[in-house]
Subunit: 214 residues, 4 copies
């Protein structure tokens, strides 16, 4: 029994007889020479915000870490397993990317769960609860703000989480040093699923603005 869900197989055949046929030389070269992406994107697992789609990126262009709510935990060299820190270390130290983009998006399920006071653990391990607790102080402040609408609170925490991850990125010595030397640049972005708009973080103010208006 060697099979995949029908939909994935069909999609794969579209790829092979479409994009791959056109780009086979590029794939072969990328296989032989190795990848050398300029950019690490830290994005959410959400099915509606794939970085390759939103940035119309081809093979070899983006090194992509995806977890729930695009979070970067703080630097913690404690000898434990850290999926996120490992990917970050590999991108910065081995691949020497020049850019890191933390990309959040609207209607994020992880953020919504964090803000939901009625939310119960999804399983006894409560992994989502633990994971989202990285944002706990910000979550409390936002959740307690009864003057904002539900949507406003959601968007607020989505954007706070991007700034929080960017702040944590800088707790990694390798990131800090390279950024200070001007060899690494950090960006924030927020994707609006409904309108397709990409809002980019202003480095000085932390505000999210549309690039056209930048």
């Amino acid at each position: 029994m060697t099979h995949l869900p029908e939909k994935l197989l069909t999609g794969y055949h579209n790829f092979m007889h479409g994009r791959f046929e056109v780009e086979s030389d590029r794939y072969r070269r990328l296989a032989q020479e190795g990848q050398a992406p300029d950019t690490l994107v830290i994005a959410c697992c959400d099915s509606r915000s794939a970085p390759e789609t939103i940035f119309d990126a081809g093979p070899g262009e983006l090194f992509v870490l995806r977890n729930v709510a695009n979070l970067v935990p703080p630097y913690e060299p404690d000898g434990e397993f850290h999926a996120t820190s490992a990917a970050l270390e590999f991108a910065v130290q081995a691949l020497k990317v020049k850019n890191i983009v933390v990309m959040g998006h609207g209607r994020c399920g992880g953020i919504k769960a964090a803000l939901d006071p009625a939310m119960k653990p999804l399983s006894p391990g409560d992994f989502i609860g633990r994971w989202m607790s990285l944002l706990a102080p910000a979550t409390e402040a936002v959740a307690g703000n009864s003057m904002m609408t539900t949507t406003e609170r959601q968007t607020a925490l989505e954007r706070i989480s991007i700034r929080y991850s960017i702040a944590n990125l800088r707790t990694f010595p390798c990131v800090k040093i390279l950024e200070d030397k001007g060899r690494l640049t950090i960006y924030g972005a927020w994707f609006d699923i409904s309108t397709g708009e990409l809002w980019v973080m202003n480095k000085e103010t932390g505000d999210f603005e549309r690039p056209e208006a930048g």
Copy 2:
């Protein structure tokens, strides 16, 4: 200062005036109704193996977790932050996906690092070393086989890592229970960057075979 690397901005404009224009209704509906993907893909961060590209998937189809070497650590409800377990829990318990695909690929940098005896920590935290140590027993067995070529050892460990992650998936009670009830199916796949071929795991033997030849 509100900017993104030129290449990303250009890519985003292509998206907005191309795919998004065609699919704006779909995006709007996905925003209003929420995502309901059938499939969780656990893939590598590698820039050459984006699941959306390989499966030609549109918005809303794939919930995608990406970490180095597409690893799933074993179930460990210890109260720590677990990016991978959190994404898994969210996909299975909140989104109720029907399929989980663990997708590895050829020439994986994480696997290569694990097999390289001369590899030194990339940073004092040695996050990659710690992360890849999840595969330590298999790595030792493969690395010690001097009769296999470097590429053969690499491919062997890449495929072992997929089976290892699948075995660990089943240590999560929610996965085990739903799989036993027939409501969740687990797949393994390995993408050959050079040829574009997707090798699919045979559920009975664990071997990787091309679907055509299954």
Copy 3:
């Protein structure tokens, strides 16, 4: 009583009234002038991997040595009977072939026997056990890797055996000298019975690759 199994007689009549009728001049010339094949193929006895079939070769083209698992023992000028060394010597020194191809194949029974820990001698002489013991060190390393599937171990040892035979070919002074002079070229190949694919050994890395993808 002069007979052959019915099936062989039928096959022979097909040959006589088919191929031989078309190629009778060629056979007559080959009889008068002697054979002058360019290539020695060292292949397995397996009924599914006849070199003449796979290379669509006509009479006079391939000098073919076949033994279990296409093994070449190391050079051992000890005065004993050596079927393999004799054929090799004849091909290289008397026929002056320009190419030697060591061709293994998938699902090889000799390799399978070597890897089977429960395998008992097939007869008191244990000729298969002795013959396959030529590969003993590699067999141990592969057999001990419990993270690989049965098929993966099998394929690994099949390919190791080809490289092993090629290394042993070079222990024969006549082979070594002619190869160094550029008058003899050595190739490795592995035939996949199931898919019909021929994987060719990359001379520099020892990896097996499909020629199309080389």
Copy 4:
């Protein structure tokens, strides 16, 4: 560098787009179910006498051992490496073939070398000399017969070698026992390259006759 001699690659492509395309189901089945040939053919390496060609045999039909002059050495359970005995043991004990055909042919180079008084070792190891010495007593008797022509001596020794190999086959206990039980039948055959005629050994007299006249 992954290549094969041009001629072999062309032949392989003919196979893939010809015979394999037609017989792919058969190959796949043979891969899945394993080989189960009825017949072991012990033939010469000569490029002009491939058993699959002469018997128009498809994949899975003939288990084929080929060495110089199609010789079977006597049973010698001495713990050494014996290519021929190993193949014989595998065919009889593991595959349980029903027939063994020893097939010699005209103008055999090994036989010619054995009969040539001026023949010098082809290499210091003298592997051909050693191998053909299996026939030494018969060779002396034939070579010393000055009343026969060169061609007659050659044909005579070729046929003697077939009967000699058949006699040695019977020194293997497994062959002897199965033949006595009627579960294994042994045949001799001699192929005339020039005319395409196959001469079959009469079991009672040892003479070689054409089957039509049998």
